[in-house]
Amino acid sequence: MINTDILIIGAGPTGLFTVFEAGLLKLRCHLIDSLPIPGGQCSEIYSKKPIYDIPSRPEILAGDLVNKLLEQIKPFDPTYTLGEKVLKMDKISENEFIVTTNKGTKVKSSIIVIAGGLGCFEPRKLLINNIENYEGRGVDYIIKDPEKYNDKKVVIAGGGDSALDWIIFLSDRVNSLTLVHRRNEFRGAPDSVKKVQSLKNKGIIDVITPAEITSIKGEDKLTELSIKRDDIITNVNTDYFIPLFGLTPKLGPLSNLGLEIENNFIKVNNSLDYQTNIPGVYAIGDINTYPGKLKLILCGFHEATLMCQSAFKRIHPNKKNILKYTTVTGIHGFDGSIKESPKSTIKAIK
């Protein structure tokens, strides 16, 4: 079992900055996120888009913001469980929780912080008759194990970066690969579009546009897809169909943890410290709600800072409040690193 002072559910900007504020107070953090990489929406949805309302950053790409936060928290040595969802939270004692993920990972922590943004990202599911019966039996909305597609026939549908990236990745390992999109144009990184064009030109992949999948067939598992283009339907044999139509956030299992929910967000006591109805469980960032709430990254940073002070008091009720000015004390990392401003040299002028 993983042991930590603060367990942060959600590794977006707010969750990541929590590690920094906790670290200044000598509290260690572990992060869990349903996505395979840290950064939340900033990494998954708009990493290449600029953000303009981060103080002192006139313009910063969302992906760069995440990278800078990761650099900032590195001295505090956070640990991660990525690609897993929190399913269960048990309160063992006043300052002791055990959280269990969908893959059975258990984390014991004094404090729980939910910084889950809009919730867990789940794939958008296609509206095709009976498609739900083929999920896991030929239809995969998420690629978890690319090896399974080796030497198989695969059809991917979608027109964004995800579809293009997987086409490129799978192109040299599958038996046949087909990309289906509703229009001729693809919205992806220019380099990816160029690579896919080249794969098509070389006859390595098949690109069918403007077209869409209209039906799906198979006995025990998927064997055939119907693809409609220009009102003509063509049946294609395939082993796998991978629809990639983006992700949508769902509160999902987080709504079953016993927390007070209002309009799909976790209600907190904003006047104090963003604590939920369960003492020792906090909710910060986009996932919480209180009168006057603003869903901005910079507000999430503020909430993380206040929340860490409250967490410190819960863990160390007999210690005095601590407020660290990094200009004075610098950063003393758990890894032994010290970052501080150079000391002044005092010398007499003769």
Binding site: R182, T248, N263, K295
Partner: protein, 106 residues
């Protein structure tokens, strides 16, 4: 002088919200929905990258043409109809007085 306009928004539960919106704050429809707690996620922050603010235009207003990003996103979205638009790409102007929209499923 700028004055507020009224917009009718039907949420995903079928409830109608009449909201007054200022025209001089450079707001878009996604932001209006979020400000009024109408259950629109706005996952990508208004960059036409997620379609969580997709809505159906019910009234017959002359709306600005879709830009390339909006067209591309709608081609990658589900539940798209002829009258689908992305709320984040529709900015509030006095011409939208009386606009009626319905939030699409997400």
């Amino acid at each position: 002088m700028n004055k507020d306009i009224q917009i009718n928004i039907i949420d995903r539960n079928g409830k109608t919200h009449l909201v007054l919106v200022p025209v001089n704050m450079n707001l878009n429809l996604m932001e209006v929905c979020k400000l009024n707690n109408i259950g629109v996620e706005g996952t990508c922050g208004g960059m036409a990258m997620c379609s969580s603010c997709q809505c159906y235009i019910i009234s017959h207003h002359n709306l600005p043409e879709k830009n390339e990003d909006e067209i591309a996103m709608l081609f990658e979205s589900l539940y798209v109809k002829e009258n689908s638009r992305l709320g984040c790409q529709l900015f509030i102007t006095s011409e939208l007085e009386g606009l009626e929209i319905e939030i699409a499923p997400n």
